[in-house]
Symmetry: C2
Amino acid sequence: MNPPFYHGLRVGMLGGGQLGRMLIQAAVDYNLHIRVLDPAADAPCRPYAHAFVQGDLMDYDTVMRFGQDCDLLTIEIEHVHAGALAALQAAGKIVRPDPSIIRLIQDKREQKLFFRQYGFPSAPFRLTETAEDVEAFAEALPLVQKLARAGYDGRGVQILRSRADLSRAFDAPGLLEDYVPFAKELAVIASRNPQGETVVYPVVEMQFHPEHNLVEYLFAPADIPPHTAHEAQQLARRVLHDLNYTGTMAVELFLTEEGGLLINELAPRPHNSGHHTIRACYTSQYENHLRTILGLAPGDPAQHTPAAMVNLLGAPGHSGPARYAGIEEALRMPGVYPHLYGKSETRPFRKMGHVTLIDPDPARLHAKAAQVKALIQVISA
Amino acid sequence: MNPPFYHGLRVGMLGGGQLGRMLIQAAVDYNLHIRVLDPAADAPCRPYAHAFVQGDLMDYDTVMRFGQDCDLLTIEIEHVHAGALAALQAAGKIVRPDPSIIRLIQDKREQKLFFRQYGFPSAPFRLTETAEDVEAFAEALPLVQKLARAGYDGRGVQILRSRADLSRAFDAPGLLEDYVPFAKELAVIASRNPQGETVVYPVVEMQFHPEHNLVEYLFAPADIPPHTAHEAQQLARRVLHDLNYTGTMAVELFLTEEGGLLINELAPRPHNSGHHTIRACYTSQYENHLRTILGLAPGDPAQHTPAAMVNLLGAPGHSGPARYAGIEEALRMPGVYPHLYGKSETRPFRKMGHVTLIDPDPARLHAKAAQVKALIQVISA
């Protein structure tokens, strides 16, 4: 790496949201100079970035111009112009993770084809181009329809349970997955450097909001048998290896009712299923993203204390300047740590922050997570 | 607190060095807007502050002007114009810790008088005004002479061992302490909020550079008998209580050869003997400084893993752009975490950063600290 990282290496980050904000917190210790490109004038990263450029992540020229002033480029969101990153790479810039992997993961069909080609367990699927195509598979209902592109936080994904649902099938290229009833949703974070050195975090368990497909609770480590945890970690390790991946990645999985594992999807960046690694692990997913993209040895991912994460989502019916009602009271409970994203305006179900809870006793941890969830309400002032 | 902290409360910080830099890292999670006053154009805080004012911390008008734009004022260095802070307080600003305590601690004579008045164990002393006064106490040699003001990092402190040393006695108001041979130098960090809620960190042990009176190694927890640790923590708790203190404070102590404890001095702010709390404790001294000055409950100070800290001081004979030779290799060792202060120029013995080491095994921890110390050299590029 030239200049060496400690000389204020200019790291360009595509995306300036909360994940980037936590990356910058970690970057301070390494004296990295983080430059941010984000479309929002009030992006959570802006106050802490060495430079902030407001612009469209999907615009080729914007990304190209932004990249000129950076020594190394990375992402905190995968909805970026991967072609521009590839062109910057061709022009000699270091881009991590590799633009070809970002492009693969952007397309849920390519992801599935990768799983199939490399023998990773994943729900059976078929590709479709139009809503009409979908009808041809009515025999296989229930099915999960996923758009090839632009799905994020549950957008572009729907369950088609019966023939009646076919009328609302997406009319765009995508895929149809077998609907696999699952016992749990799991995630494994792993980080790998260009030399191939890989660390894998303990498996976590996510509980989603029943309607809004956003993680509501996370528990780490997951309450699953040790052999299942080991298998999930091995799958993650193999994904990073087979992609020749550099950086931190999240591998989301389903634990089926029969106890098997299926990979759901990948995220080529730090992920909200790894927020707790800041408080509960020796090295956070953010720090390890930086260490690995810099070509340094990844740090110890071991978890020292059981943890939970509660997302602070904007309360339904509230829009405007945010108030975190109940937060002072929640902070009176031992092991409760807030992470506010600095978004001044709340909206229903907007991710406004999260709370990490740590407690040596898993039963108490679960109880505290429910208490914190009930206590803190993100409402308009 | 008005506005509530999560609405971007404007916290004015006097001093913008490495302690402030770590305070800002913690402040991100609470969405505090930190405004910094520091005399150096390249202060370590500058890239991360919501506002940066270059100016003299000891200048009344500068501090007054700076304070106008803040909701709450705090310090990361005690060499500030305490009178200006008192005037800001009188004008309705919240200042934490209280300016009267900052003033007391700025003056080593007042500190000693406080210890005496409140019955805290501390080395016997006498006040002196001039070098001539010092000679009158020649019978009591060896003695430690301390200037009343402006001592920092060992400046303004000297040991007078024999009559020959009297010729170099400081000719300014100060004090003469009995020279107490000590077995160890210890420190206790504690944080207290205005409601009186107090948390006390495990006792740490500092090893100083033989010539430069700068901490070279720190080990946490200290290798001392449990009853001594308890006594040190109780002393710290009582100091904060008796001062009616708000914020994080460091209490430095000597463990005498007989096993007794003497308070050496106080620091009314986060302290370099608490750097390791970021990596090794559930809540860092920085986060607890913020929580307590905001009137929030302090977080759990318990340490989850034994830790060491190695200061990265500029190597003798090197001045200019800094190079951290050996750092990549040091990061290959498990449990090694760098904290670089972003100072571009090194000078002999300048504090350029530190490394925190964590390891469940104390013997291995000591060995690793020595290895890291030998590996990383801060030299000019």
